[in-house]
Symmetry: C2
């Protein structure tokens, strides 16, 4: 038998090329020809690893998801739970080119998922897993005494997640209006506030 290429590795390589194209030209700019150019392969060989374009795009989305999750896992080295939460915030905001690329791909897919029945369950999945990260982190912080015990975990998890996703959207769509440093401080400040906010919850 000949060459014996690592299929999964090649698929990841092509998916990364897709992500670069999406970050540069948007989802609308993704055609097999452009991706083939970006990856340095011919369009014919691509079809050997992905029989259809949808398959390629779906794999690329999963790839970004994996990359993000991988970086989130790396933030476990933080000594405190709140430290990990702060690290997670920094991993999700588009603070460098890689994170910016991931944010752009995420936004493109989320937008398409609203009207693409095939992508919708994947978008819901991405949301759920990120939500679990946030809620789990807050819960652990509460149990470790780093956050007040009466914190509404589901509520605050959802709030933090929405805040960060909103900031991501703003940072990539209006970068000259909202500075990255401003967004960072905003998100971190929000997390800090959770330490004190629960004492004086409103009656209604």
């Amino acid at each position: 038998m000949p060459k014996e290429v690592d299929h999964e590795e090649r698929r990841r390589e092509l998916a990364d090329a897709v992500c670069r194209v999406i970050a540069r030209d948007g989802l609308a700019g993704v055609s097999l020809r452009v991706v083939a150019d970006e990856a340095g392969w011919s369009i014919g060989s691509m079809r050997y690893y992905f029989t259809t374009k949808d398959e390629l795009l779906e794999f690329a989305l999963r790839r970004v998801d994996d990359r993000i999750e991988q970086r989130l896992d790396a933030s476990c080295v933080q000594p405190t739970l709140l430290g990990r939460a702060h690290a997670v915030i920094d991993e999700l905001l588009p603070l460098d080119v890689q994170r910016r690329e991931e944010a752009l791909v995420w936004l493109a897919f989320v937008s398409r998922a609203t009207t693409d029945a095939k992508l919708a369950p994947m978008a819901a999945d991405v949301w759920s897993r990120l939500n679990e990260v946030f809620v789990g982190l807050l819960r652990a912080a509460v149990e470790a005494g780093e956050l007040p015990a009466d914190l509404d975990l589901v509520r605050e998890g959802g709030r933090l997640q929405a805040l960060i996703d909103g900031l991501v959207v703003h940072l990539v769509s209006a970068p000259e209006r909202l500075g990255t440093e401003q967004a960072r401080e905003l998100a971190h400040g929000h997390l800090d506030q959770l330490r004190a906010a629960s004492e004086e919850r409103e009656p209604a």
Copy 2:
């Protein structure tokens, strides 16, 4: 002279058709032929009012922007400033089909604006005007004594805006995971918290 059609009215009619198509099939599903079908006109007559597709899309984005702003203005009837702020939140969240359509169009355009140089300044504009609404509302509430005087207006305006946009993204991309009522309570609760949150600001 013949018919004497109201051009602006016709343009708005076509733009509304574009919005319906975007909400149904996404930005990728927008072709002149589909829009013409949706509007009940021929593709040839459309070109009488929009010489190019980009022109049509740009006009459609402005149209949604106008529609949202119009509804926000209508919320001025609220007696208190905080009441208006709560009303604004309800106007922006996709709580019915119309608001949902506007949210879908907004998300599609925001996503495309990240890689479309022509749309980028418009996206920045949309952000700015909404930011002014939030900051202005908070400032007025502070001056009316409805919110504490030491509130950081820019910070809290940006935070509220990010929170709402994040909730919008979640509601349209993972509607079965985050309920509309849950999102509403979250946003309104956040606003309520501003009344008390400024007293115990963290040192850093």
